[in-house]
């Protein structure tokens, strides 16, 4: 009698695990569809607030792409400043992008992800420059790479992970 119950409990646990795995993916997809935009707009708002904060402290922008300093005349020290971010579209955005890429044209869901990633990495560069005490960052470059994608038989994975790198020369 005891054996019977412990076996049935084990069986129940196995069924539960299977049920969770079957239910998890559709539920996660629906969550992504319904609530993904809340997370995305929240991130955008935070980024905007941080940009305004730094702009308030510096009084303009402390990063630029020219190879010569604009405001500073006497330079005593310089060094490399570098930041990065890895972003990925949500499941729902991936799904939308997949459908759109059949017909071609502008894919708004991916545009949002890329715009956020690039904005965030530039903001991090500003904050890092401020934190390390550089008064200006010159010759800023932003690069995009897809380094973390698996290559399986010539096909890239479906995660769509993107890395942005921003670097420049800090001067003071």
């Amino acid at each position: 009698m005891y054996d019977f119950t412990s076996e049935s409990i084990a069986l129940l646990i196995v069924y539960l695990i299977i049920a969770v795995f079957i239910l998890f993916f559709p539920l996660a997809f629906i969550y992504s569809m319904l609530f993904g935009w809340i997370h995305q707009s929240g991130r955008q708002k935070k980024l905007l607030a941080r940009e305004q904060k730094v702009a308030g402290i510096v009084g303009g922008d402390n990063i630029h792409t020219l190879s010569k300093p604009i405001n500073l005349e006497q330079i005593s020290q310089c060094g490399l400043v570098m930041t990065n971010i890895t972003v990925a579209p949500s499941w729902w955005q991936l799904f939308l992008g997949g459908i759109k890429s059949i017909f071609g044209g502008q894919i708004q869901s991916f545009e949002k992800v890329l715009a956020f990633g690039r904005g965030e990495v530039m903001q991090r560069l500003r904050e890092q420059a401020l934190g390390e005490g550089w008064s200006e960052v010159i010759n800023v470059r932003v690069e995009t790479s897809m380094v973390m994608n698996k290559v399986k038989g010539g096909q890239q994975n479906k995660l769509g992970t993107l890395e942005f790198v921003a670097y420049g020369t800090g001067i003071r």
Binding site: A28, F29, Y31, S32, F35, G36, H39, Q40, R43, S67, P69, Q74, I75, S76, Q77, C78, G79, L80, M82, T83, N84, I85, T86, V87, A88, P89, S90, W91, Q93, V113, F116, E120, I138, N139, R141, E143, S145, M146, V147, M148, N149, K150, V151, L159, T161, E163, V165, Y167, G168, T169, I171
Partner: protein, 105 residues
Amino acid sequence: MTSNIETIPGFRITKSLGVATGSTVRAKHIGKDILAGLKNIVGGELKAYTELLMEARTEALGRMMMDAGQRGANGVVNVRFATSSVAGGAAELFAYGTAVVIEQE
């Protein structure tokens, strides 16, 4: 001192010592891969990857500096970064620049 422009502001380059390079190959942890997949439900930043790549890039830069140091340089100008993906989810991070001897103007 390092910079990604052709000169180091406020200093004069007296000697060029060739190209200094540094690289590292990193792969991600499989557990982190699964967690990143879950984080992906709502999109956004994947912190584990960001940290991993930053760590790797810092190490590549450090190796580049060591290479430059062995050549007897005290500065690296025109630093560039390159990334390439190797099979199996591994990534190579590569930093290179021109090793130079500099002196204050």
